[in-house]
Amino acid sequence: QKEVEQDPGPLSVPEGAIVSLNCTYSNSAFQYFMWYRQYSRKGPELLMYTYSSGNKEDGRFTAQVDKSSKYISLFIRDSQPSDSATYLCAMKASKIIFGSGTRLSIRP
């Protein structure tokens, strides 16, 4: 079993929809939970991070961490075609472990 599991998609939604991206994990030592966004032919870039449990909001993006269920989510409100990318969750204890990424496509 991988330490971090992420549905690879692809996920296709119409513009303006709410998007929910999720990851599960097995290592209870993870303390930092991150979401990276990767556009085609580019390297990943940090989108959001959360320390321990709880929610964090940044504009149209909300990150949630539920440590009791070992489950993290990224919500995108009012999705735009420019949000089309691969989203990778990442988690850190002593080192960072990345999920496999979910490919998201927003249809105009």
Partner: protein, 114 residues
């Protein structure tokens, strides 16, 4: 300022040949990572450098893979006797220090072994 740069952006090589991939990290970043990204496999950790400490080579898949970092800055990943399964995007990232959660990635080198 300048971000992480990698060269070449694309590399096509014949099976059995050696290849060298280069990474220029952000100036002042002491930590440097190499990852491999294959379709649907996520980011596979290869090797990590932190300052003058011995590198963490725990992710290197075989002894055909090696890396060095000269002067605490530029790094080179070398793959000897390339195999078709080595075809992937090789990403380099740097960060200010080991403990940080944020890594800055380069655009990657797309390696194709024919």
């Amino acid at each position: 300022g300048a971000g992480v740069s990698q060269s070449p952006s694309n590399k096509v090589t014949e099976k059995g040949k050696d290849v060298e991939l280069r990474c220029d990290p952000i100036s002042g970043h002491t930590a440097l990572y190499w990852y491999r990204q294959s379709l649907g496999q996520g980011l596979e950790f290869l090797i990590y450098f932190q300052g003058n400490s011995a590198p963490d080579k725990s992710g290197l898949p075989s002894d055909r893979f090696s890396a060095e970092r000269t002067g605490g800055s530029v790094s080179t990943l070398t793959i000897q006797r390339t195999q078709q399964e080595d075809s992937a995007v090789y990403l380099c990232a740097s960060s200010l220090e080991r403990g940080t959660y944020e890594q800055y990635f380069g655009p990657g080198t797309r390696l194709t072994v024919t």
